[in-house]
């Protein structure tokens, strides 16, 4: 006796929401997430003498997604971030193909951005850049180099309120732990 085939054409889920949800998620994510590196920084890396870097990971996230993440972070930390201020966050991870362990970021110049924080600890380096236009802080970029890898992040949008809140919180959190020679002198 021949068994009856149980196969039948799939007519989709009985509940249309089951199909709509992943489709909506796919459309949303593809419009919110890209895989390019931080704008302007890659070109700057390529112009560093004697060093060659290759991108390992690139991620670009739209402001909407960032806002949701910030709100979540705000709920967790008690900090309030103004939604809609961040347009895009770009992240890049790069491998140093050549160039050794020497300080790399001293000569790093990025179009439209001004370095205002420089940190070096041995072969580890951190730079923070700011970009402004029309009286607004429009861009912040952070570059970290450990002698072998580079990590770069660029945040774009109207960043004044975000920077103020973040730095105010960071200051209160980190400053009491900072080493303080003058405290010795006051004893």
């Amino acid at each position: 006796m021949r068994a009856r085939a149980s196969w039948a054409p799939w007519r989709g889920p009985r509940n249309p929401a089951l199909l709509a949800a992943p489709l909506l998620a796919l459309v949303t994510l593809t419009s919110c997430v890209g895989f390019s590196g931080p704008r302007g920084l890659e070109r700057a890396f390529s112009e560093i003498d004697g060093a060659k870097v290759e991108r390992v990971v690139g991620l670009s996230v739209s402001g909407g997604l960032v806002d949701r993440a910030l709100r979540l972070a705000g709920n967790e930390t008690g900090m309030k971030f103004e939604a809609g201020n961040v347009d895009r966050v770009q992240l890049g991870v790069y491998q140093l193909v050549s160039g050794g362990n020497a300080p790399l970021l001293d000569e790093l110049q990025v179009d439209g951005l001004v370095p205002f924080v420089k940190v070096r600890d041995g072969c580890e380096e951190v730079r923070i850049f700011a970009g402004h236009s029309g009286g607004r802080l429009e861009s912040l970029a952070i570059v970290v180099h450990d002698g072998a890898d580079l990590v770069a992040m660029r945040i774009s949008g109207d960043l004044g309120p975000l920077a103020a809140e973040a730095m105010s919180a960071a200051l209160r959190r980190h400053a009491p732990r900072a080493r303080h020679p003058t405290r010795l002198a006051k004893r």
Binding site: V114, K118, V144, G160, A164, M167
Partner: protein, 185 residues
């Protein structure tokens, strides 16, 4: 690079940045209260810690507005400032005396340029120098140097400065060097 070391470096820089943006900064060599601190990097240990925060005038203006919504005093102070530069460096081996000589030389140059020595503290190997520059009734420059065997801190604030407010802010935020500022009360 460990996340802890990155965190530590970023933490320090964040503290200095926050200072810089609580007390804005700029590189205006023409400002009477501006002091060039570039000599500091000459004494940095090659594999040691080096932290520098240096905001330009535009950045000060950009940050002063939002900062005032979180800290009124910071906003008021920021409004009058033209420049802030803060540097913390780990000194190369045996450079302590050399740096001290350099700092004394700088002090002499600043005094001949109209600056006043308002405080000098020595405690063991720690030396603290506080210098102020006035124009008429206005205080237009503050420079604080802290030197010990292993570390040098240089802070220069230029612009219209309310010393009490600056000292209070420095105390609240524990800003490197500026806790040595005198207060009128």
């Amino acid at each position: 690079m460990s996340f802890r070391s990155i965190g530590s470096s970023v933490g320090t820089s964040a503290a200095l940045f926050a200072l810089a943006f609580a007390i804005p900064a700029a590189a205006l060599a023409g400002s009477p209260g501006y002091v060039d601190g570039s000599f500091v990097s000459d004494y940095a240990r090659e594999d040691g810690t080096f932290v520098e925060v240096h905001l330009d005038e535009q950045l000060i203006e950009l940050l002063a507005g939002p900062a005032s919504t979180y800290d009124e005093a910071a906003g008021e102070i920021a409004a009058g400032l033209e420049s802030v530069r803060a540097m913390v460096v780990e000194l190369r081996e045996g450079a302590g005396e050399e740096v001290l000589d350099e700092v004394r030389g700088l002090q002499a140059r600043l005094v001949s340029d109209g600056w006043q020595n308002v405080a000098r503290v020595r405690d063991g190997s720690d030396h603290v120098f506080v210098m102020l520059k006035s124009e008429g009734q206005d205080l237009v420059g503050v420079t604080v140097l802290v030197v010990n065997e292993s570390e040098l801190v240089f802070t220069n604030v230029a612009g219209r400065i309310d010393l009490d407010q600056l000292a209070r802010l420095a105390e609240s935020y524990e800003i490197p060097g500026l806790d040595a500022l005198p207060r009128s009360e």
